[in-house]
Amino acid sequence: MQLQVKVTAQVLLCLVFRHTFSAHIPCQEPSDAELESILNPYLASGASLLAQTDEVLPDEELKACPVNVNQTSSRLQDKSTSPWSYRVSEDPNRYPQKIVEAYCLCKGCLVNGQEDKAVNSEPFYLEVPVLQKSNQCKRGQYVYQPNHLQVAQFCFCSFP
């Protein structure tokens, strides 16, 4: 009986030890530099999608549908019958956490000085390489896996 208690106590102690010292080692986030070096081979220097160029400034406040097309602008996004702008999409479980994407300013298209809802402004998507955070923990760090994300680049006008 005494031996049984002793063995049970030892097993319990062992379990408590394991619980405290192994299962609870917190998993760390890899540094941005490490994540960047994993993602880098997927991006050639000089490669740029429309929403991923340096000149793009995302809106903090979303714009409304303009009254008419801005014909004096030099930018495709203002002169288009389906005008668009850019905003930031954020996901803490992804690298990069912030990605710039296009959004359509109008539901319809701007023709003959007004918004015509017989046609639609539709976003055009391209695949962008990203790293997706997994629940897996390897060598004390979260595992990030390469993935492709569909990101809106511009808008085009189409029949519904």
Binding site: P30, E34, S37, I38, N40, P41, Y42, L43, A44, S45, G46, A47, S48, L49, L50, V69, Q71, L76, K79, S80, T81, S82, C109, L110, V111, N112, D116, A118, V119, E122, F124, Y125, L126, E127, P129, R139, G140, Q141, P146, H148, Q153, F154, C155, F156, C157, S158, F159, P160
Partner: protein, 165 residues
């Protein structure tokens, strides 16, 4: 000591991600082809995966525009008011080997009321993006060894309708 071991293991993991991607990480042909197929991304890809044996460029046969009209019940490229067609851009030394390039079907945009005729108030404009593609390069001084070189590659992905001045 433990930290040094962790840092070393991380360096190994990063090196594996860059496998076949530089002259200092050379691979055999089959391995480099596998890595190229894995790395290839970007739209629009050819609908059927596969390889091509002959390079195709936008020659006269590929540039001929189709009739200028939209098909409201058709796929995305035909439903657009600045509709476009595709030609297959093929290069056996590149990953992806087959890419779809868009070509505007019309000089102007199609009329909203009559999708079979043009509205001169708009102009079809091609939209270019620079995708990342990979080229198989021989490793200097090593026969039968290759690496993949990432390079930007301009692809016309679609057309948009701009209001004519």
């Amino acid at each position: 000591m433990k930290l040094a071991a962790i840092l070393m293991l991380q360096a190994v993991a990063v090196a594996m991600a860059q496998h076949c991607l530089s002259p200092s990480h050379c691979c055999g042909q089959a391995e480099v082809d596998g890595a190229g197929a894995q790395l290839s991304y970007g739209q629009p890809r050819a609908p059927q995966p596969g390889s091509c044996n002959v390079s195709t460029t936008p020659g006269p046969g590929l540039r001929l525009p189709g009739p200028c009209h939209a098909n409201p019940n058709g796929p995305l490229n035909a439903r657009a008011i600045a509709p476009w067609d595709f030609w297959e851009d093929c290069d056996p030394a590149r990953f992806p080997q087959r890419l779809l390039q868009a070509r505007c079907r019309c000089r102007h945009c199609v009329s909203l009321r009559k999708p079979q005729s043009q509205d001169l108030g708009g102009n079809s404009m091609p939209v270019n993006v620079n995708l990342t593609v990979y080229y198989r390069q021989p490793c200097p001084g090593r026969t039968g060894a290759f690496y993949l070189e990432p390079r930007p590659y301009q692809v016309v992905v679609a057309c948009v309708c701009l209001l004519a001045r």
